[in-house]
Amino acid sequence: MSPDIRVEIGPEFKKPSVIIRADHKSLLVENIIKAVEECIDEKYPKIAGFREGGIVLVNQADLIRVYTENRKVMMATESGGYEIRRSLQDIEELLDESYFVRISRFEIINLKKVCDFDFGISGTIRVTFTDGSDTWVARRYVKSIHQKLTDYKKGDNDDE
């Protein structure tokens, strides 16, 4: 039995709160509590994706890329694509900055899911992912990709 979900938005609610109402503490209730805790406790929360009327929470580690397509923000995972009902900028702020990097005005990628970069004769930088899909990189983001790929070295040096 799927629960009713009611969302109340109003200026009087300064802090988001979740109330679960049930006649007893069932497995479903425990799962809801766990899901909510996972969402709020993590430094890098799961991302809610919508597909065919359903909603799933995707771990950031499972994300391949987040991109804009036909004015919709989409995320690609190895299990398929989902729509995200937030702006690309909002999502960028939620993502783990150690692994995610912007590669164009329309796209953010997970560096852990990158197979390699390729430079074609026409001068387009292509990036291929572990699932075989690919996309292009805007030239003006090359510097920030370099930086992201070497940022961890700074941390290592600081530790020494």
Binding site: V114, F119, G123, T124, A138, H146, L149
Partner: protein, 154 residues
């Protein structure tokens, strides 16, 4: 007004002024040292033409801001834009005579210059990508080490 339109207007204005300045420099000898020199309609057209060439060159450079365009596409489009402007106005004011040796020389010079621009950007891009792939390998090794440490419960 989006960012590219703003840049186009800014670069076009700079290009127009720069074009006129370059035009003046080319005729500086006549302006400053020829006592019979008089500013006329032809000079006006000439400076306007120089300014428009500046607009095509500088304003057209916003093409390089199109993120999804390859270096080849940007360079070819910019080349065509400046050449068409040059030949259109050049033939109109009588600078250019199609088929003459000067026409072929100017075309060859311009094409060579654009080829060099493309080649420099291509080689720079290829070097960048090679470096990115090396850095990616090191980054992945680092990530695997972190994952392993986490699995081991460190």
């Amino acid at each position: 007004m989006n960012e590219i339109t703003k840049k186009f207007i800014k670069y076009s204005l700079i290009g127009f002024v720069s074009g006129i300045v370059v035009g003046i420099l080319f005729t500086a000898h006549d302006i400053f040292f020829n006592p019979e020199y008089q500013f006329g309609t032809w000079d006006m057209v000439y400076y306007l033409f120089s300014g428009l060439l500046g607009v095509a060159g500088m304003g057209g450079s916003v093409i390089y801001q199109f993120e999804s365009w390859s270096i080849l596409k940007c360079t070819l489009t910019h080349f065509l834009l400046t050449m068409i402007t040059f030949y259109l106005f050049g033939s109109w004011v009588g600078f250019i005579k199609f088929g003459e040796i000067s026409f072929w020389i100017s075309t060859a010079c311009e094409a060579t210059a654009y080829f060099i621009i493309w080649l420099v950007q291509y080689l720079r891009g290829r070097k960048d990508v090679r470096k990115m792939n090396e850095e990616l390998e090191q980054f992945k090794t680092h990530c695997r080490d972190i994952d392993k440490k986490e699995e081991d419960g460190e």
